[in-house]
C-alpha cells in the first residue's frame, strides 16, 4: 500500500468516525426511534456527499481543470428549471399529486437531454478556463431566469410548491426520494469507479486521450450523463450545492498528492462525507443551528474558489 492509498484509508476512518458520532452523540429517549431518524438522515447526507464529490471530480476531469463544479456550470439550475416547467405543465395540484420519483426521473431525463445539447459542443475540445467559467455563469443565469419566468406564469399558489427548493438545506432532507437516490448514487459511483483508469486518460485532454484509443465523444457523453444524474440526486435531496465539491476535491488532492482517479474518487467522496456528517454533528450539538451547515460549507468553499482562481492553481 503506498502513501496515497494509506491516506484514503485515513479518510475512510475519519468518515466512519463522523458517522458513528452522528448516530450516537447525545442519544436520549426512545432509542429505536431516534436511531432510525438519524439513520435516515445519515443515509441522505452520505448520498449527497458522494454524489457531489463524484460529480465534481468527473466534471473537472472532462473539462480539464480543478476549479469547476457542476453547479458553477449551471447544472443544478437546470434541475430546478425542469421542476418548474413541470409545475407549469401540470399545475400545482397536479404536480403535488404526481409521484415524486416520477417527477424526479422526468426532470432528470430533460436535464440529460439539455445538458448533452448544450455541453457536448463545448467539450469537443478543451476550452480555456475563463471561457468555461463564463459559459457556465451565463448558462446558470439563463436557466435561473427561465425558471423565474416560468415561475411567473404559474399560479402563485402553485409556485409555493417550488419555494424553498432554492437553497441547500442539509437538515431538512427529502425523505421520499431517498431510495431512488440511493440506487442512482450507488450506480453512479460504481460506474465512475469502473471508469477510473479511463478517467485518468481523459484528464490528459482530448488529443492525448484519442491517441490512446479513447472514443472521446462517446466517453464524454457518458461522463456528462453521469454528472447530470448525480447532480439531480443531490439537488433533489437538499437543494443546490455550489462549492462543496470544489472544497472536498481540493482537500482530497492536497491530502493524497495525486490526481489518479483510483485515489481521488474515493478520497473526495470520503472527505465529503466527513465534512457533511461531521459538520452537521458539530452544529447540531455545539451551536444549535443545524440549518447553517450549508451556509458555512458554501462560504468556505467559495473562499477557496476565489483563492484558486486568484492563484490560478486550477489551470
Amino acid at each position: 500500500m503506498n502513501a496515497a492509498e494509506r491516506r484514503v484509508w485515513f479518510a475512510a476512518g475519519l468518515a466512519l468516525l463522523c458517522a458513528a458520532t452522528f448516530m450516537t452523540l447525545g442519544l436520549r429517549g426512545n432509542f429505536a426511534f431516534v436511531l432510525e431518524l438519524r439513520a435516515v438522515k445519515l443515509l441522505a447526507l452520505v448520498q449527497v456527499a458522494v454524489a457531489v464529490a463524484v460529480s465534481t471530480v468527473l466534471l473537472q476531469t472532462v473539462t480539464g481543470n480543478r476549479i469547476l463544479t457542476p453547479s458553477i456550470m449551471g447544472l443544478d439550475a437546470l434541475y430546478l428549471l425542469g421542476q418548474t416547467v413541470m409545475v407549469f405543465l401540470l399545475g400545482g395540484l397536479g404536480f403535488a399529486s404526481v409521484d415524486p420519483r416520477m417527477k424526479f426521473l422526468c426532470a432528470l431525463l430533460a436535464m440529460v437531454g439539455v445538458a448533452a445539447a448544450v455541453f457536448l459542443p463545448i467539450l469537443r475540445r478543451q476550452v480555456p478556463l475563463f471561457r468555461m467559467l463564463l459559459t457556465g455563469a451565463l448558462l446558470g443565469i439563463l436557466f435561473r431566469s427561465l425558471t423565474s419566468l416560468v415561475g411567473r406564469l404559474i399560479d402563485p399558489n402553485d409556485f409555493a410548491v417550488l419555494q424553498g427548493s432554492g437553497y441547500a438545506n442539509f437538515s431538512a432532507v427529502r425523505g421520499d426520494l431517498l431510495a431512488l437516490g440511493l440506487v442512482l448514487t450507488a450506480a453512479g459511483a460504481a460506474v465512475a469507479w469502473r471508469l477510473r483508469h479511463v478517467l485518468d486518460v481523459v484528464a490528459l485532454g482530448p488529443a492525448a486521450a484519442i491517441a490512446l484509443g479513447i472514443d472521446w465523444r462517446r466517453t464524454v457523453t457518458g461522463i456528462l450523463t453521469l454528472v447530470v444524474t448525480l447532480v439531480a440526486v443531490s439537488t433533489a435531496l437538499v437543494g443546490p450545492v455550489v462549492f462543496l465539491g470544489l472544497l472536498v476535491v481540493a482537500l482530497a488532492e492536497r491530502m493524497t498528492g495525486t490526481q489518479r482517479h483510483a485515489v481521488l474518487l474515493p478520497a473526495s467522496a470520503l472527505i465529503a462525507v466527513a465534512v457533511l456528517v461531521g459538520g452537521q454533528t458539530v452544529l447540531q450539538h455545539g451551536f444549535g443551528g443545524a440549518g447553517t451547515l450549508g451556509v458555512i460549507v458554501e462560504f468556505v468553499g467559495g473562499t477557496l474558489f476565489l483563492f484558486l482562481l486568484a492563484t490560478e492553481r486550477g489551470r
Partner: protein
C-alpha cells in the same frame, strides 16, 4: 502503409490542406518538412484521427482511420503532438505508463512494467522517473512525451517536432534511436523536422509541404536541392555534399 488520398481540410472557411495525397510505405523513416504554417501538424492530426476527416480518405494498413474503432487504431498508430501542453500532476513514470493504456486499460501487467522501464532507459529518463512533469526542463519533458509515444509500442509512430528543446546530444540520440526502431523492429516513423540536416542524415524519404500542399516527395538527395529549398523557404541555401552526404548551410 499509410495511404492518404485527396485529403482536404479547412477551418471556418480557411483552407488548410488542399487535396493531399501521399503513400508512406511501412518500415521507413519519413521526414515531413516545410515552413511554419505549411500544414504539417494538420496533416498528422488528420492521419491520427485527432481532427475529423472532412474529405478524402486515410487508411493505415488498409484500415480507414475514420471508421476503425479508436481502441484498435491506438494499438497500431500513435502521435506525439507539437504542443503537448499538460499541466496536471503526473510523474514521468506515470506519463510514460499511459502509453500502455491501449494494451492493458490501466491495469499494468509485468510486461507493461518492463516496457515502461525500457522506454525510460532508452530516453535517459530512469533517474527522473519519480519527478513531477512540471518540475522538468523543456528538453526533459519533451523526451518524456516521446517516451510515452514509444512505449505505446505501435507500428506507426507520428512525431511532431520531437527534437524541440533538445540539445545536440539528445537530438542525435533521439534520431539514432528512431533509426534503430525502423531498421531493427520494422516500425514506421513519420517525423516533422525543422532542421533539414537531420532530415538529410536520418530520413529514408522526405515529404516537403507548403501552403497545405505537398510540393516534393522522395529520397533526401532528390528533395534537398537548391531550387526546391528556395521554393519552400523563400531564400537560397548552400547545398553541399560532404563524404557522399547532403549538408545544407541555411544560415549566413
Amino acid at each position: 502503409m499509410i495511404e492518404i488520398e485527396g485529403v482536404s481540410l479547412s477551418h471556418r472557411g480557411t483552407p488548410i490542406l488542399h487535396e493531399v495525397s501521399l503513400a508512406l510505405p511501412k518500415g521507413e523513416l519519413t521526414a515531413l518538412i516545410g515552413p511554419n504554417g505549411a500544414g504539417k501538424s494538420s496533416l498528422l492530426s488528420v492521419v491520427a484521427r485527432l481532427q475529423p476527416l472532412q474529405s478524402g480518405s486515410v487508411a493505415v494498413d488498409g484500415l480507414p482511420v475514420d471508421r476503425t474503432p479508436s481502441r484498435e487504431l491506438a494499438r497500431m498508430l500513435t502521435i506525439m503532438r507539437q504542443d503537448t501542453g499538460f499541466a496536471g500532476r503526473l510523474t514521468v513514470r506515470e506519463l510514460v505508463g499511459f502509453g500502455r493504456f491501449p494494451h492493458s486499460r490501466g491495469r499494468l501487467t509485468d510486461e507493461d512494467r518492463e516496457r515502461i522501464d525500457e522506454a525510460l532507459a532508452l530516453f535517459d529518463l530512469t533517474a527522473l522517473a519519480g519527478r513531477d512533469l512540471g518540475t522538468l526542463s523543456g528538453g526533459q519533458r519533451q523526451r518524456a512525451f516521446v517516451a510515452m509515444a514509444f512505449c505505446q509500442g505501435t507500428d506507426y509512430l507520428l512525431l511532431d517536432e520531437p527534437l524541440n528543446n533538445l540539445d545536440m546530444m539528445y537530438a542525435r540520440q533521439m534520431m539514432r534511436l528512431l533509426r534503430k526502431v525502423v531498421d531493427r523492429r520494422g516500425r514506421t516513423v513519420v517525423i516533422v523536422l525543422h532542421d533539414i540536416n537531420y532530415a538529410a542524415a536520418y530520413a529514408d524519404r522526405i515529404v516537403a509541404m507548403k501552403d497545405g500542399r505537398i510540393v516534393a516527395h522522395g529520397p533526401p538527395n532528390d528533395v534537398l536541392t537548391v531550387g526546391r529549398l528556395e521554393q519552400l523557404y523563400g531564400y537560397r541555401m548552400q547545398v553541399h555534399r560532404i563524404d557522399g552526404r547532403t549538408m545544407i548551410r541555411h544560415h549566413d
